[in-house]
């Protein structure tokens, strides 16, 4: 059978045929912040996937290029978390990779109906064989969690994991744009572990299985994921590819950075004395999820600079300023901008 015929045989024939994957950047191709990071809590490398060391130990993360060892047919890239020290796992610690689906993007699942199903699939590779788990949580985290253990059959070997979940009424509790939370365990302490699997739990907030392989806190252990897909229904379909530019634009709803362009000159106001002003407005390539936090690199030869707030910033653009600048002799421009509207 030809490859084209094999592909056709695996494609869905009903339901939503395009835009099935509710995960943004599931192939880990976009890393606007950089390809490596020692950030222990936050977004350091791959867009939309957050690392959380949870006071367990130090961690390095990468947009890892596996080259010839990448998952065949998915992506050269994966999100990799690697422990860089040895530390004990306290009961209240919680190291994990987290992805949050925005509430607006998940309404088609019908999360609150227990007769509806949705399916998460991903590829995983780990330094060690053993048990791990995925935990789901309601948007507000506290209303409902669901834990599914899975077995990493062999060390240093890609395998696909496919998990199907039912809806639950408690999932109506979204919060500040958080629609559904997905956690991959890297070292979650006993306070958040459970032996109750494959059902929604509405008290205690456990989000990892007991007996999992610990990654962070065990020097040099690592775990990689890629090809992450969340889709309506109980049928697992092939990973849905999309052009890089499409994924990048989706990511820029949550984060955007402009480096070293020196293209945004600030225009003068009140140029007739030594206490003049400069103002600038930078429009984002994509309307962001909400008004973002901003960090700007403003280069100027006098005065004081910063980012405007209030009505001078929104999901579409941001205002920047320099005050107390000599209107005739000084210059001002923006050479870097970072705006963050992540969940």
């Amino acid at each position: 059978m030809s490859n084209a015929r094999k592909l056709a045989a695996n494609l869905p024939t009903d339901g939503q045929l395009g835009n099935r994957n509710l995960i943004i950047n599931g192939a880990m191709k976009v890393a606007q912040r950089g390809t490596s990071s020692t950030t222990t809590n936050g977004f350091g490398t791959v867009d939309r996937f957050r690392i959380w060391h949870g006071a367990v130990g130090n961690v390095a993360t990468n947009q890892y290029n596996s080259g010839s060892n990448a998952v065949d047919g998915i992506s050269n890239y994966s999100f990799r978390a690697q422990a860089t020290n040895t530390a004990s796992l306290a009961a209240g610690s919680d190291a994990h990779i987290r992805y949050v689906v925005e509430d607006k993007d998940i309404q088609n699942i019908g999360l609150t109906n227990p007769n509806n199903n949705f399916t998460l699939s991903f590829y995983v590779k780990c330094s060690n064989a053993g048990q791990s788990s995925v935990g789901l949580a309601s948007g507000n985290f506290s209303s409902a969690t669901y834990v599914v253990p899975f077995t990493i059959a062999s060390a240093d070997t890609w395998q696909r994991v496919e998990l199907t979940f039912p809806g639950n009424a408690a999932l109506s509790n979204v919060s500040s744009g958080f629609g559904l939370r997905i956690y991959w365990d890297l070292g979650i302490g006993t306070n958040y572990q459970t032996s109750t699997h494959n059902q929604w739990i509405t008290s205690g907030n456990p989000f990892a299985a007991a007996g999992n392989l610990q990654i962070i806190g065990v020097y040099d252990r690592w775990l990689q994921i890629t090809g992450v897909q969340l889709e309506v229904g109980s049928e697992v379909t092939p990973f849905e590819h999309e052009p890089y530019t499409v994924t990048l634009a989706k990511c820029q709803r949550y984060y955007y950075r402009m480096d070293g362009n020196k293209t945004t000159w600030m225009y003068p106001i009140n140029t007739n004395n030594a206490n003049g002003y400069r103002r600038g407005s930078i429009h984002f390539p994509v309307t962001m999820r909400t008004t973002p936090t901003a960090t700007a690199g403003i280069v100027h030869s006098g005065g004081t600079s910063g980012v405007d707030g209030g009505v001078w910033i929104g999901p579409d653009c941001v205002g920047v300023y320099v005050n107390g600048i000599n209107g005739e002799t000084d210059y001002a421009y923006v050479n870097a901008l970072e705006v963050d509207a992540e969940l």
Binding site: G42, R289, T290, P292, T295, G309, G310, Y321, N323
Partner: protein, 56 residues
């Protein structure tokens, strides 16, 4: 998030107030918007007994 400093800030324009904060060692301008994650973190930081300094 590790918040070590927060201060109201404006650019002398009307309705331009935000919060200039140091979060995880980085200085950033946080809008006063309820579903911004940094503003949510600052609110939690205040609830823990910390104070946002007044603007100059």
């Amino acid at each position: 998030m590790n918040i070590t400093k927060a201060k109201y800030h404006n650019s002398e324009l009307p309705n331009s107030t935000n919060i200039k904060a140091t979060i995880d060692g980085e200085e950033m301008f946080v809008p006063i918007v309820d579903n911004n994650r940094h503003y949510i973190a600052i609110q939690e930081w205040v609830a823990d007994g910390n104070t946002i300094d007044s603007a100059d």
